[in-house]
Symmetry: C2
Subunit: 548 residues, 2 copies
């Protein structure tokens, strides 16, 4: 091979070309969560399940999903995810599953699981890259025939190629979608597994029913804890505080509003006639100016005027938090603990995006005797009844607590340390709430911390949506929610500690009082009955004077 | 606002649309390194400097760059980066600076700083988003007139809009490019600053000359340590081991080779007639089969046959490591230490991509007296002479060592803990080499560790190119390189420790011998001169019998 010669500007120009977004993500597929075979399996199922749940909820249908994973070769798996959603209109199927950056959720401001229009097509692309086979999709819309597609992704053009397109005379569902994909993968149980993801999905989505068949053939059902769908999230207009200058200029250019005054009121939330007038007054711009004729300097003045004007926080009906009651149901269903504490914070705002933080804590002692107060107010130890599954979520007393992170009801399984939720949990003083906490670490104890962020736009640190970026407003809200739930836990643990100290004292009483009785019997010359009465009275007296 | 009603499949279909890659990255700009104003300034300069250095080296020009940063408002800065590169052909300027995913480096396998065709356009987009002004570019190609462009990015279409396009009758450079951008930013010195980045760039690129004017007006020059350009990196064909099945199928479909046999030899490196025959034999495919007619199952067989065939490692002339001598020069130039140790490893391969790991260690004691052996072989303490800049890189004895990470000669300043280099440094046993090391942490001591990865494709963990993904092969090579350089350091430190022990012994001698002299004088009845002679002889005798 000859040594490369020096290039001229003209020779360099000939080498320049466009790169398609699919080529880019095919080469950088680790950015989308396809770093390794194990994670690829999880990401594929996660993207399919997220899409299914979004579709069911938008259509007002209680989700009923079936997930099947089969091992078809040494390193090959077949994944099938089927939902009872509204189905997908025939023409849209190839684009939704075979084109990156295509979808309905990117441009609107409303809470949903998906937000980018990348995930499911990226899964299909990964399957195609590793097995040569693209995804197969069967979908049926009510009162229409079901359609079955085989799709390939043309990565050079980022366009779907339709392999097969057939109408099915019969299908087992009235409406719904089934996604099937062969891919190179590996399967393993435990933390960050498919099983873990589905379990956590059931915790945060108690209105869902999930059926799961694992590669080893075992079946698992997660039944509904409620038949009520979450309140539907509204779509909102952007809040003026969240708009950057460049975006404002673009909106001015593209608006259909005739005047600046109406532009502000029609394109933003929380801007009425009064606020619009205030903004324009501060910016020294006419209310009747034409938006498309605003020059850059004027737009800059408008932008700065917006920052200086008091505008109320964005509406929060675009959010659909899980709610304290549902979090409690979800935790109780999948995690059998001794004590639960939940907290849903009021809505807050970062960069103009409203969001809500919710926290649930489950706490319990997974081993050894525990204490309870019986009907007569007496302390008893009891043996814990535990279901098999509890071990999955609740650790031992010496373990770091299990942190369950959720964004718009989706469990986040990777990059825990890079996540705002983890940072906030570390920055919370857990010793105040009765848990041990090493310096700079998560607290230690038999507890599960569930943290949910609901927002119209969750700021993920990467496309694979594994960690939430640490905006100061988000950190603050997570800490406040953890503190609120933590205080209740602290009160309970302190009470438990008093109970425990009391119980120890009592066991000493039980142990020594008979000996005291014998001693007194000898000194005072009592008979056995007198001794027995004395001992009983002594015991009662000591029990009633105790302070709990 | 009315509650959102349930949507039908048809209504959902109407909401689906394409998302342009610029819209995607504008909303997710933190993915590209524009998380906050301080980082935005660094990323902008980094992208411009990386492009300038790549262009100069491809054209065989010794790089001479000028970087200017001016503060123009409370939170606004003006950045200007000018190079003496070959210039950019007029027609290419708008696309290179105003379109994401456009460039010459993505599709080829050859070492360069840029690899994605995103960075510099993303900087322009960020500037436009925050100030409303797009980038300005002046460029001149030899024997042509200079051109000056003002560009806007149409984010909806990911296409450049040309604002101004003018020919300059005169320009101060014969050839070169100047990039100018207004952006919202903040400036701060110290770790991860623009100053830090430029200093580290000078260390890893001793053939560059950099002039830098900081926002406070201070000027700084980094002069060349060598006039030799790095050996030019060759472009190579992909190695068969690095190709995935889906990609192989695509190559079979797109190849111009007529037969399978020639396809393998022409499209891959390290495949000659013998290897091609072996592969096709194992795959049970005919040498004369038409590549475009290979079915998926046959391609799968071909793919598996490739994995089973012994194929030699890819050539390494596509790589341009810095080299031990240049690393030493770079370190000595910017970091005045007591001891240096360097190591360039032989080339290795991950996923079919060749790479080289290089390590440099600078070690010195920044405070207090130090020891040296003078011409007469006597140990002396000396005061360190230190330039002002040294403190930047070398820490105190109690500090964690400073880790400088480089990928294709570009300093990596963020996400240190997520980087394969950091992981490898933590997994290395530094106590063997005389440094303290807390469990699970980086070593402690007055040292700088420089680690450079040169590769045709560096697997970054995010688009902002801040950390290298921890492939096992990369981890292993970094550890081997650190160990090799570490052993030399260990030998030196051990020698130093002996010197130090010796010096302590000597100071005892210095302290007590006069007293011994006085004692002997009394006992033996010596005069002062006799005592003086005795003490001197005693001292000489003890010094000559010492073992160093």
């Amino acid at each position: 091979m000859a040594r490369t010669k020096n290039l001229t500007a003209e020779e360099m120009a000939r080498q320049q070309k466009e790169i398609s977004v699919s080529e880019f993500f095919a080469k950088n597929r680790h950015l989308l969560g396809f770093d390794n075979p194990r994670k690829a399996l999880l990401t594929t199922i996660k993207e399919a399940v997220d899409n299914s749940l979004d579709a069911c909820e938008e259509a007002g249908i209680l989700p009923d999903l079936r997930i099947e994973v089969q091992q078809t070769g040494e390193d090959r798996f077949l994944v099938e995810v089927q939902d009872n959603g509204p189905g997908i209109v025939k023409d849209q199927i190839p684009k939704i599953f075979g084109q990156l950056l295509y979808g309905s959720k990117f441009h609107r401001m409303r809470q949903s699981r998906g937000q980018q229009g990348i995930g499911i097509s990226a899964a299909g692309m990964y399957g195609q890259l590793t097995t040569g086979k693209g995804p197969r999709i069967t979908s049926k819309v009510l009162r229409r025939k079901a359609h079955r597609y085989e799709i390939h992704l043309d990565t050079t053009k980022n366009r779907p190629i339709i392999g097969k397109d057939e109408e099915l005379p019969e299908w087992n569902l009235k409406h719904g979608t089934r996604f099937t994909l062969d891919l190179e993968a590996s399967y393993q149980k435990g933390l960050r597994s498919v099983d873990d993801y589905l379990k956590q999905t059931a915790v945060a989505n108690p209105h869902c029913r999930l059926e799961y068949q694992a590669p080893d053939g075992t079946e698992r059902q997660y039944e509904r804890a409620t038949d009520t769908l979450p309140a539907k999230a509204e779509e909102i207009k952007p809040h003026p505080y969240g708009i950057e200058l460049g975006h404002l200029i673009k909106m001015l250019r593209e608006t259909k509003s005739r005047w600046l005054n109406s532009f502000l009121q029609e394109e933003f939330c929380r801007v009425g006639p009064k606020v619009a007038k205030d903004i324009l007054g501060t910016a020294k711009l006419s209310e009747r100016a034409y938006p498309s004729r605003i020059a850059r300097q004027e737009a800059d003045a408008l932008y700065r005027a917006i920052q200086k004007t008091r505008i109320s926080a964005p509406p929060t009906d675009c959010l659909s938090p899980i709610g304290e009651e549902r979090i409690l149901e979800g935790l109780q269903k999948e995690c059998d603990a001794e004590f639960y504490s939940v907290c849903t914070r009021p809505a807050a705002v970062y960069r103009g995006n409203p969001f809500v933080i919710e926290v649930g804590i489950a706490w319990g002692k997974p081993s050894g005797a525990e204490l309870e107060v019986d009907e007569r107010g007496r302390i008893r130890s009891r043996k814990r009844k535990r279901t098999v599954d509890t071990e999955d979520l609740l650790g031992n007393a010496d373990d770091t607590v299990r942190l369950l992170r959720f964004a718009n009801r989706v469990p986040l399984l990777y990059q825990q340390s890079a996540c705002a939720v983890t940072k906030a949990a570390i920055q919370t003083g857990w010793k105040n709430y009765g848990l041990q906490q090493p310096r700079g670490g998560l607290p230690v104890g038999p507890a599960v911390l569930l943290v949910h962020m609901a927002s119209v736009w969750v700021p993920f640190t990467s496309e694979s949506k594994e960690a939430i970026a640490a905006y100061p407003e988000i950190l603050k809200e997570v800490k406040l929610a953890l503190q609120e739930a933590g205080r209740k836990l602290g009160a309970y643990i302190r009470k438990g500690k008093r109970l425990k100290r009391e119980f120890e004292k009592r066991s000493y009483i039980d142990k020594y009082i008979p000996h005291i009785g014998i001693g007194l019997q000898e000194i005072l010359g009592f008979g056995d009955q007198e001794r027995h009465d004395l001992v009983e009275r002594l015991r009662d007296s000591m029990e009633t004077t105790r302070k709990i």
